[in-house]
């Protein structure tokens, strides 16, 4: 008797559990839409990565109104790629496995974006990159991969032209961080320098982050007019400081990876002594974009600090995702759109973003992107806002070729 009673109770519980599970998945999740972000949220590059996520979060709060009115719940799903390719790919697998994710914002590093986007490509999941500048990101021709910044094969020649024409440099020492991004820019820079007849006195790759003696000694002996470091601020800052301390008096140049207040914290007055330091960027400070003033205010009010570079791009990338999902959902009769529909909607889109007008060409590049050359006037992170834009240029995307 008691055995049968037990069985009945067990069956009742099982059935009710199944029913409960069905009802929750049938009711709530049908209208749930997620946007993923992938950027380094921990580690040395987290300063930039966290603000990409925060920018996207701000966009979600301010711009998800139309989707909410259509009855959707929009959620941000942040992932930490730790600036590491294998972590990025592992996250990418988790992201494509979540059917509620229809669009993504990321990554910070080209070296992480390129392998991760193979996963997005297979799953047909669109990603909008706020920061990746390596040409390969888009030149594979994937319909899922888009970016709202410029490219290294333009950025590096812009930097080289500035060094050659404005600084009058005739010799250069090139150092890169051996990543897809750093080495890529360095090689484009070398190509441009050789074309102009500049003397390339050294071309070194290094993963060192602490003791740069072995690179600085031959560099000092060569005494180049310009040292071009192609990499990320956490490595470059230490290198600049040690090189300046060791007696280098020329000009340091860098890429958009230097555009973080952490660089000045690390390097201190090494950036303004001697020939100073300039860097090229595909993302100017918020003040460079007339429409981003309100964004900078809202950002500071919400997160308690000025936005780092790429935060505004994070905002715009998320805005592209939201608008494309909205368009695709409307076309699908207010139903949750497919990933393919969102992917195609992104390419069809023209959006007035805070960093300018955003539309994409056939491979996912901006038809025309902005490039900035910025001179550092800061000796500490708090003064990073004192940096000035010394040149602002607009170049067409080179497309699939070179």
């Amino acid at each position: 008797m008691s055995k049968r009673l037990n069985l009945v109770i067990a069956l009742t519980i099982a059935v009710s559990l199944v029913l409960a599970a069905c009802s929750s998945s049938g009711g709530g999740e049908a209208k749930l839409i997620k946007i993923a972000t992938q950027s380094p949220l921990s580690g040395g590059q987290s300063l930039l990565g966290v603000d990409i996520k925060n920018g996207a979060q701000l966009a979600l709060e301010q711009l998800s109104g139309p989707l909410t009115e259509m009855g959707f719940t929009v959620k941000l799903e942040p992932y930490d790629d730790q600036a590491t390719p294998d972590v990025g790919v592992a996250n990418a697998k988790a992201i494509v496995a979540d059917p509620a994710i229809l669009c993504g914002v990321g990554h910070l590093n080209s070296g992480v974006m390129i392998p991760s986007s193979e996963e997005y490509h297979v799953a047909g999941l669109a990603f909008v990159s706020p920061a990746n500048t390596n040409p390969v990101v888009t030149t594979r021709g994937y319909a899922e991969v888009n970016r709202i910044v410029g490219r290294d094969d333009v950025q590096a020649p812009v930097a080289e032209a500035y060094a050659f024409n404005e600084l009058g440099a005739r010799s250069v020492y090139i150092i890169h961080d051996k990543t897809a991004y750093g080495q890529g820019v360095a090689e484009f820079f070398r190509g441009a320098a050789e074309k102009d007849g500049m003397n390339v006195m050294g071309f070194e790759g290094t993963e060192e982050t602490a003791n740069f003696d072995a690179i600085i000694t031959p560099m000092l002996a060569a005494n180049p007019d310009v040292v071009f470091f192609s990499g990320i601020y956490n490595q470059a800052g230490v290198f600049f400081k040690q090189a300046r301390d060791a007696g280098y008096e020329g000009t340091f140049m860098g890429t958009d990876g230097m555009d973080a207040s952490g660089l000045a914290d690390l390097a201190g007055d090494a950036l303004v002594k001697g020939g100073g330091m300039v860097y090229t960027s595909v993302a100017g400070p918020a003040s460079a974009y007339p429409k981003a003033a309100k964004f900078a205010e809202d950002f500071k009010a919400k997160f308690g600090a000025d936005p780092q570079p790429f935060a505004a791009q994070g905002y715009d990338a998320a805005a592209v995702c939201l608008k494309a999902i909205e368009n695709a959902a409307k076309a699908a009769g207010n139903q949750v759109p497919t990933r393919e529909a969102v992917r195609d909607a992104i390419r069809a889109l023209t959006l007035e973003g805070i960093t300018g007008t955003i539309s994409f060409d056939s491979i996912g590049d901006l038809p025309k992107a902005k490039y900035f050359i910025i001179k550092v006037n800061a000796t500490s992170g708090a003064e990073w806002g004192k940096n000035e834009i010394v040149a602002e240029l607009e170049f067409a995307s080179p497309g699939m070729g070179e």
Partner: protein, 384 residues
């Protein structure tokens, strides 16, 4: 007995000779030996390849940076040697590689820099004597690293004392990860910053200029480099005295030779092992602070590469052998510095500084093929 012999004997039994002059002489001999060998080698290479380079004089360029390359190599060599002593001492008494030692080194550096940063926020950093400040930082780094090493031994290794040899090794690797992320967590919770940046103070960044006859340009050496070398030499001499001149040192050597017999002779083996970890850890901590002073930035993962190199240095010199660790550190530091600075010059940029580790490790492998017990290791073979 002839007269000369007795003079020699008198000299060798004189404590000043035995514990100060002899070890310093040994260090000098190592530096001169390795430095001169490598210098002669690159100069020879420069002469051989002189004709193949058109636009610059290879010999001139080689000689121009040679003094700086030597100094770079010796500096980093002393850092490696100081860390390597920690590996080799632990190997001597316990016969396993304490892989968490690189994190002990990192903790010492982080603690030292955090003390300086604390003094800076208090506003007292600028007003204090810079040598007092750096001595305080080194002492604090030594105390914290030393006690951390003892704790790690007590928690992670002693319970595994009787286990197969791989087990404490795995425990050590786990401890290494644990310490890295523990420091990352603590830094994240307290300062919220990943990079630990040395505040600027004193005149350590300034140069001393040395004019040597026969050299075209004067040699510039940063004060902090001189400080680093001086402090490590003092520590190495101190360690030599401790191990070879005191009762504790005798007990350490006894435990290293034969643990059960040492215990039968009334030596408290557990205490001696703890003391070994304390000494090795404090040396690592001091090296961490000096390394931080030199490179100006640390993070929780900064110990990995110096630790790996120091371990290599210990193997190169003959693991378990204190003099060997010193020699191995200096040789590896010089090899690395020469490789990094000259590869690019000799290969016209085809192989750059990024290949320095490949060169250094290729030489290590070559040495271990012909001398598997390392440069100075003899007794290790029968023990292991």
């Amino acid at each position: 007995m002839n007269r000369q012999g007795s003079v020699m004997k008198q000299l060798t039994s004189n404590p000043i000779y035995k514990f100060v002059l002899f070890p310093i002489g040994q260090i000098l001999a190592f530096i001169l030996g390795a430095g001169i060998t490598l210098s002669v080698l690159v100069i020879l290479l420069a002469y051989i390849f002189r004709g193949s380079v058109s636009n610059l004089d290879l010999v001139e360029r080689t000689l121009a940076i040679l003094p700086k390359v030597l100094i770079d190599g010796i500096t980093i060599g002393f850092v490696y040697a100081t860390i390597a002593l920690g590996y080799t001492m632990v190997y001597g008494v316990l016969e396993f590689i304490n892989f968490s030692h690189s994190e002990i080194f990192m903790v010492g550096g982080v603690v030292g820099v955090e003390l300086l940063r604390y003094l800076e926020t208090q506003g007292s950093l600028a007003g204090m004597n810079q040598y007092v400040v750096i001595a305080l930082a080194i002492l604090l780094g030594m105390v914290i690293s030393g006690s951390l090493a003892v704790t790690v031994e007590r928690v992670a290794y002693r319970p595994l004392r009787g286990a197969p040899r791989l087990v404490p090794l795995i425990s050590a690797i786990g401890m290494s990860f644990f310490l890295q992320d523990a420091v990352r967590l603590i830094l994240g919770l307290t300062t919220g910053e990943f990079n630990v940046i040395l505040p600027k103070f004193g005149t350590f960044d300034d140069f001393q200029v040395f004019n040597f006859p026969g050299l075209a340009a004067p040699v510039q050496i940063q004060n902090k480099t001189i400080l680093l070398v001086a402090v490590t030499v003092v520590m190495l001499v101190g360690l030599n005295y401790l191990v070879n001149g005191t009762k504790v040192g005798k007990a350490i050597r006894a435990v290293a030779q034969d643990r059960p017999t040492a215990s039968l002779m009334g030596i408290n083996v557990n205490l001696i092992i703890s003391i070994t970890f304390l000494i090795g850890g404090s040396l690592g901590g001091a090296a961490g602070v000096l390394f931080a002073l030199k490179v100006t930035r640390l993070d929780p993962f900064v110990g990995f590469f110096p630790g790996l190199k120091a371990f290599t240095a210990a193997v190169l010199g003959g693991i378990g052998n204190l003099t060997g660790a010193l020699l191995g550190g200096i040789v590896l530091g010089l090899l690395e510095s020469f490789g990094a600075s000259y590869l690019g010059i000799f290969t016209q940029g085809a192989f750059g500084a990024e290949y320095k580790d490949i060169l250094a490790f290729a030489i290590l492998i070559a040495i271990l093929i012909f001398r598997p017990s390392g440069l100075l290791g003899q007794t290790v073979g029968q023990k292991a």
